[in-house]
Symmetry: C2
Subunit: 265 residues, 2 copies
């Protein structure tokens, strides 16, 4: 049996998924949540934080990868204040095949141990369903990552990744190095630099040292094309409002919204 953490009931409004829960479901978790700080590049796997847990990011943003070879392999997806890490637990798997590392400058997250979490899920089917719905959404995010990595040109993949980071951050400035992006997309740092130059030329981004500012999110979405937006829109439909604008502006006459991939008939 786990003891509720009676003296400490953290505010859960920093995580959209927690906030979307019914009051009664939320209170099954709240007494067991504790807020933890995460520094840049810190990693969260089965062993790192001591024990098995679920993590609801607040300001921290986590990049999910396979455990196999650290950050030399591509990102599977991002989890920020819209989601949760550790869905494997919900599926009856203790040791996930994933490893998450903190992107950008770090931040806080709410953590709950496996025991109390599973107890809570056993008590409430709706809680279980809500968390699992997010797992499905992450699956879709991964699928769309897979598609993007397989068929899109690098420029498009970079645009997509920046949008994904933007969604999970506050403000329009990301504390981010080219190298970090390169490792997430499994490409050369130099290639990322070149893509950024194109985007800067188009006045879509502005880059300073270890700092990227989004100037024109709408055109960034146009550039990212099909690979961005589907999973996010579904999140908005099924779970909670998406933290950023997903709709491009109204079309002017004759304008084509998403330039369709060249290989469409």
């Amino acid at each position: 049996m786990s003891k509720p953490n009676a003296h400490y009931a953290p505010d859960i409004r920093g995580n959209l998924l927690l906030r979307s829960l019914a009051q009664s479901d939320a209170w099954l978790l709240i007494p067991h949540l504790s807020r933890l700080p995460f520094g840049p590049r810190e990693s969260v796997g089965r062993t790192s934080c001591g024990s098995v847990q679920m993590i609801f990011p607040e300001t921290a943003v986590f990049c999910v990868r396979q455990t196999l070879l650290g950050d030399r392999q591509p990102a599977l997806g991002l989890v920020g204040h819209e989601g949760v890490l550790g869905w494997s637990l919900l599926m009856g798997v203790e040791e996930s095949f994933t490893l998450a590392t903190v992107e950008m400058q770090g931040g806080t997250a709410l953590s709950i141990a496996a025991g109390p979490l599973l107890e809570a899920c056993a008590k409430s089917a709706t809680l279980r369903a809500n968390l699992l719905r997010y797992a499905d959404n992450f699956l879709e995010q991964m699928a769309s990552m897979l598609g993007s990595n397989t068929i899109d040109a690098l420029e498009r993949r970079v645009a997509r990744w920046i949008l994904m980071l933007h969604d999970r951050s506050q403000g329009d400035t990301l504390l981010l190095t080219h190298d970090e992006v390169a490792r997430a997309l499994h490409t050369r740092r130099a290639s990322v630099t070149e893509c950024f130059h194109v985007l800067e030329g188009e006045k879509i981004l502005r880059c300073e040292r270890a700092r990227v500012t989004i100037c024109d999110r709408e055109r960034l979405m146009v550039l990212a094309g099909f690979s961005y937006g589907a999973a996010e829109a579904r999140y908005a439909a099924e779970i909670a409002p998406w933290p950023r604008e997903l709709q491009p502006p109204p079309l002017s006459q004759g304008q084509v919204r998403f330039s369709p991939p060249a290989w469409l008939p």
Copy 2:
């Protein structure tokens, strides 16, 4: 309420996942299962088969893709007699973002409608857990597909895909065209032909018209490298015995099992 299909209780031994269930859990499903034939290239989405359902393949093998653009986009994974289609249902999502199409020559599968399935899952937590554990395993398959598509050379990806098809087939001959492989991996048909020639030269495969025979599975595994095997091994550990051999033969002196990717330190 759904009426059990009393006059027809199909043999479930054709699907490893069903076979791995406890008797009591299996019987929650069996009365509602019906065996359906699936022809080549047939596709199974939310709409195709009338209503929402889960599908336990027997001899049929399904290739899972995003719904977005049909088979012009890469495969997310394969589901054969080791798994089940329609995990989204378990996560409380009616309309999955995926679409599955029959690979190779087609075959049969056992289907159950959403209603009876969810009833059964509500009754048995262990049933739910077993099915969800497979969902997690498919997630891992997808992750490893993502990794492979992103970092591996085409030859390795082809090797991997052939192994995945082999695992889900009977015998060592796959009824398969180069074009089918090309579409799954999102590459040119001609590139697949070239890879097959290399593999034929190495006496690992033999190709005839629309027919590929695996001659040396072990060396095929060596060629596929890291990207193949992790998800399959975990399936074997957590769910049921894997249908094919996953262990390469004992090493001879000084031999290196998996040639590590070139980019390892």
